[in-house]
Amino acid sequence: MKSQRFRGVTRRTLLGMGSVTAFVAALPSQVWALATRPAPAFGATDVDTVFSVLGSTPKHSDGIVFSVPDIAENGAVVPVKIEIDDTVLPGVSKLYVLVEKNPNPLAAVFGVPENTRPYVETRVKVAQTCQLYAVAEADGQLFMVSRETKVTLGGCGG
C-alpha cells in the first residue's frame, strides 16, 4: 500500500515536471523572434537615426554578401538580396535593409532563427540614386555593407 502511494506520487511529480520541461523547451524558439515591430526604427527619417535606435553604428563586414543592381530602371521595384557567409560572420539573428534617401530609410527587418539560412531576397522602393545598406546583427553586434544603386526613372539616365 505504502509503495503503491509512493509510486503514485512519483508519477504525478514526473508528469508535473514533464509539463514544465515542455514549457521551457518551447521558450528558445520565441527568444530569437522579433516579438514586436521595431516601430521607432521604422519611423526614423535618416540612416544615422536608424543606427542610433538600433544601438550603434555598424562595422563593415566582408561576411555580408549584398546584391543590388548598379542601375535600376524603375525605382519602385529594386531587387535586393542579402546572403551571409557564416564562416566569416556566424550567429546572425537579424537582417536589416536600409535605403539612404527614402523618407524612412528602414525598409525591412528579418528575424532569422538558427535553423534558417541567413539569406533573404525581396524587392524595395528606392526614391532616388543613393546608398543601400545591408545590416546584420550577430551576438548583439551590428555589421553592414553598403552599395549604391542609380535610379534612372525618367529616362535620361543617372
Binding site: L106, A108, V120
Partner: protein, 103 residues
C-alpha cells in the same frame, strides 16, 4: 485568401528554397491621387514563414517594400512533402496566407 500568396518551396541539395509572391498595393501614404488627396498608407507590416507549423522566418516591413512584394529565403533541409506556410498582416489589420508542400 489563400490565393493571394503564391509560394514555391523547392529542395535544392540540403537547402529548401522558398519563394513567395504576395498581392498587395503597399501604399506608402505619401502619394496623392488625381484630385490631390493623399492616398492612405496601406502596407504589409509583418510576414511569417513557417515550416511544419514552426516559424522559420519573421519579417517586419515598412512601406518601402515594393508593391506585390516578393520574399525569398532558404531553409535548412526539410524532406519533400513538408508544409511551408507564409502569412502576412498589414497596417489595417488585413491578413493573407498561403501554403505549399516542399518539392
Amino acid at each position: 485568401m489563400a490565393s493571394r500568396i503564391r509560394i514555391r518551396a523547392q529542395l535544392k541539395g540540403d537547402e529548401c528554397e522558398v519563394k513567395a509572391l504576395m498581392r498587395h498595393p503597399m501604399e506608402t501614404g505619401l502619394r496623392k491621387d488625381q484630385l490631390g488627396d493623399p492616398i492612405p498608407a496601406r502596407f504589409i507590416e509583418e510576414v511569417t514563414v513557417s515550416h511544419n507549423g514552426s516559424t522559420v522566418l519573421a519579417a517586419f516591413w515598412g512601406a518601402a517594400v515594393s508593391a506585390n512584394p516578393f520574399l525569398g529565403t532558404r531553409l535548412q533541409g526539410g524532406p519533400v512533402g513538408d508544409t511551408v506556410n507564409v502569412s502576412w498582416r498589414d497596417n489595417l489589420g488585413e491578413t493573407g496566407e498561403g501554403e505549399t508542400k516542399i518539392r
